[in-house]
């Protein structure tokens, strides 16, 4: 390895990847040698084998699929409402004064605290989980959309007005694209929130889903399956975030170019 290659390694993502591999290796050795209780810390290799087995048998996907459907259903509803109401709050003072206090009161309450209440109204099935995910996804999108609307350059609004554009057209043609960088930030936060609330709601009350699967595995002393479920969530969360950034980079390419030029 030459000097320059070494520099590249120490300052690349591969350093972090190697660190993860090192932790897993220590885990493997510690578990194999009995330094840690192998019941709570099964060997990584054994977990990977179990993971592969439940993946091949289709058991994992049977649990994962309903979870993902709930998550996306709730996320899309929550994010869409967040954008819509955020646009209205940002552009109509009356809507702002009407809704600002209630959002400030509701927002700091951790979403899982609502689950018992929501169960009273919607039961323990999909409706409850989708509602919870939508509710929790709603706030980050709402607040960021609102901030984005407030940050729209008045020169752009005036430009649209000199071309005779106002009202809903102005909101759609000018305000929405201008606020898009903020909206994407909110949607990225909400994506992580949606994953969390999905798992929690399935642990509280469900008969399927990845959250249920992890909790049931732990209660049934199927510890390797439990870890396999957690690893699955890591992969799911990571993939969604990557996918989201990929889409964001496409849609907001103009924004990165524009801010780059402003800085020069």
């Amino acid at each position: 390895m030459t000097d320059s290659q070494r520099v590249v390694f120490w300052r690349s993502r591969w350093l972090g990847v190697a660190f993860i591999a090192a932790i897993l290796a220590v885990w493997e050795i510690a578990s194999a040698s009995g330094m840690v209780p192998s019941l709570s810390f099964p060997r990584v290799s054994a977990i990977l084998v179990t993971w592969w087995e439940i993946l091949r048998s289709g058991e994992l996907l049977r649990e994962l699929l309903p979870s993902l459907l709930r998550m996306f259903g709730g996320y899309l509803v929550g994010a869409a409402l967040g954008v819509l109401i955020g646009l209205l709050m940002g552009s109509l003072r009356t809507v702002y004064y009407l809704l600002e206090p209630i959002t400030e009161v509701l927002r700091p309450i951790p979403s899982p605290a609502y689950i018992p209440i929501v169960i009273l109204f919607l039961g323990i099935d999909d409706e409850m989980k989708i509602f919870m995910i939508a509710f929790a996804s709603f706030f980050p999108v709402l607040l960021n959309t609102y901030s984005g609307v407030r940050a729209v350059d008045p020169v752009q609004v005036q430009t649209a007005r000199t071309f005779g554009v106002k009202g809903r057209k102005l909101l759609w043609q000018i305000v929405l694209p201008s606020a898009a960088p903020f909206i994407f930030t909110g949607m990225r936060i909400s994506l992580a929130v949606a994953l969390i609330v999905m798992v929690i709601s399935e642990m509280v009350a469900a008969s399927n889903g990845i959250g249920y699967f992890i909790l049931a595995a732990q209660r049934g002393f199927k510890i390797q399956e439990m870890y396999a479920g957690v690893f699955t969530l890591a992969v799911v969360g990571y993939s969604f975030n990557r996918l989201f950034l990929l889409i964001e980079n496409q849609v907001l390419a103009w924004h990165y170019g524009h801010t780059q030029q402003q800085r020069n």
Partner: protein, 271 residues
């Protein structure tokens, strides 16, 4: 106000006061201007005297606190379709998520008068007129300042406005680029025959471009000097600026501006 003797574009006793902490700032105190169709009128005045405010009121973008604007005998309340405003801050006025082509087409798309093919044709024609052919698919932030201002001009003219209101459009580009933009604007004005109200703080630019120059006083602004510029067209960046009459206009307007700034001695020394 529908009599045929009234000018095409009139400001009648236009006042504007902005709310300010502990009172209000009076920007305009009764401005009267009559502008004939097809003329090129520049408005000059000290910085902060209310030039932009006046132009935005004429455009229907900002409501006046008193007085009225009439376009072709009709009172202006909302931005009137035949009047297009070109902003001083072209970087902020162009839409960064739209290409040059889509920026220029913007005004036409919202008129609903033409189908997509006709919009495309007219847009390309204007892009050619401002010498940006080949840059249709670039984004504004990929262009130089002068090119961006040309996109803004094309976007304004593609609607074939009767009146172009321009707020210091060339103040933030270098001298050579500015001369190029001035020539482009004069050429388009001669060909397309629209009316221009042009705000600038540059006396030379005002005289060179205009058929008439209106100088405002310090805030609260009123009309201080109003002179017709009788110089031959087409103008020439070098020869026109050397004409004795050009220098006479320049002398009068600079003396007025210096007096407004409390620089009487300089003005007298120059005289």
């Amino acid at each position: 106000m529908t009599s045929s003797t009234a000018a095409y574009l009139c400001a009648r006793g236009v006042r504007k006061a902005y709310a300010a902490p502990g009172g209000s700032t009076v920007a305009l105190s009764g401005v009267d201007v009559d502008i004939e169709r097809g003329t090129f009128v520049s408005i000059i005045g000290p910085s902060g005297c209310g030039k932009s405010t006046l132009l935005q009121i004429i455009a229907g973008l900002v409501p006046a606190s008193g007085g009225e604007i009439f376009l072709n005998g009709r009172k202006v309340e909302e931005p009137p379709p035949p009047v297009i405003y070109v902003f001083q801050q072209y970087q902020r006025s162009l839409f960064p998520w739209k290409t040059v082509q889509r920026n220029v087409a913007y005004g036409l798309e919202n008129r609903g008068a033409y189908d997509a093919a006709e919009i495309e044709r007219r847009t390309r024609e204007l892009i050619r007129l401002v010498k940006l052919s080949g840059f249709e698919n670039h984004y504004p932030w990929q262009l130089s300042g002068g090119m961006q201002q040309r996109v803004a001009i094309a976007r304004a003219l593609v609607c074939r406005p009767d009146v172009l209101l321009m707020d210091e459009p060339f103040s933030s580009v270098d001298a050579l680029t500015r001369a190029g933009l001035q020539e482009l604007l004069l050429q388009l004005w001669r060909e397309l025959k629209f009316t221009v109200v042009f705000v600038t703080h540059d006396v030379d630019e005002a005289i060179y471009l205009s058929t008439r120059v209106v100088a405002l006083s310090r805030a609260p602004a009123r009309v201080a000097v109003d002179i017709a510029i009788d110089l031959p067209h087409p103008r020439d960046q070098i020869a026109t600026r050397e004409l004795p009459r050009y220098l006479e206009y320049r002398h009068r307007l600079l003396a007025q501006l210096f007096a407004e700034e409390g620089l009487e001695s300089t003005a007298r020394a120059a005289a």
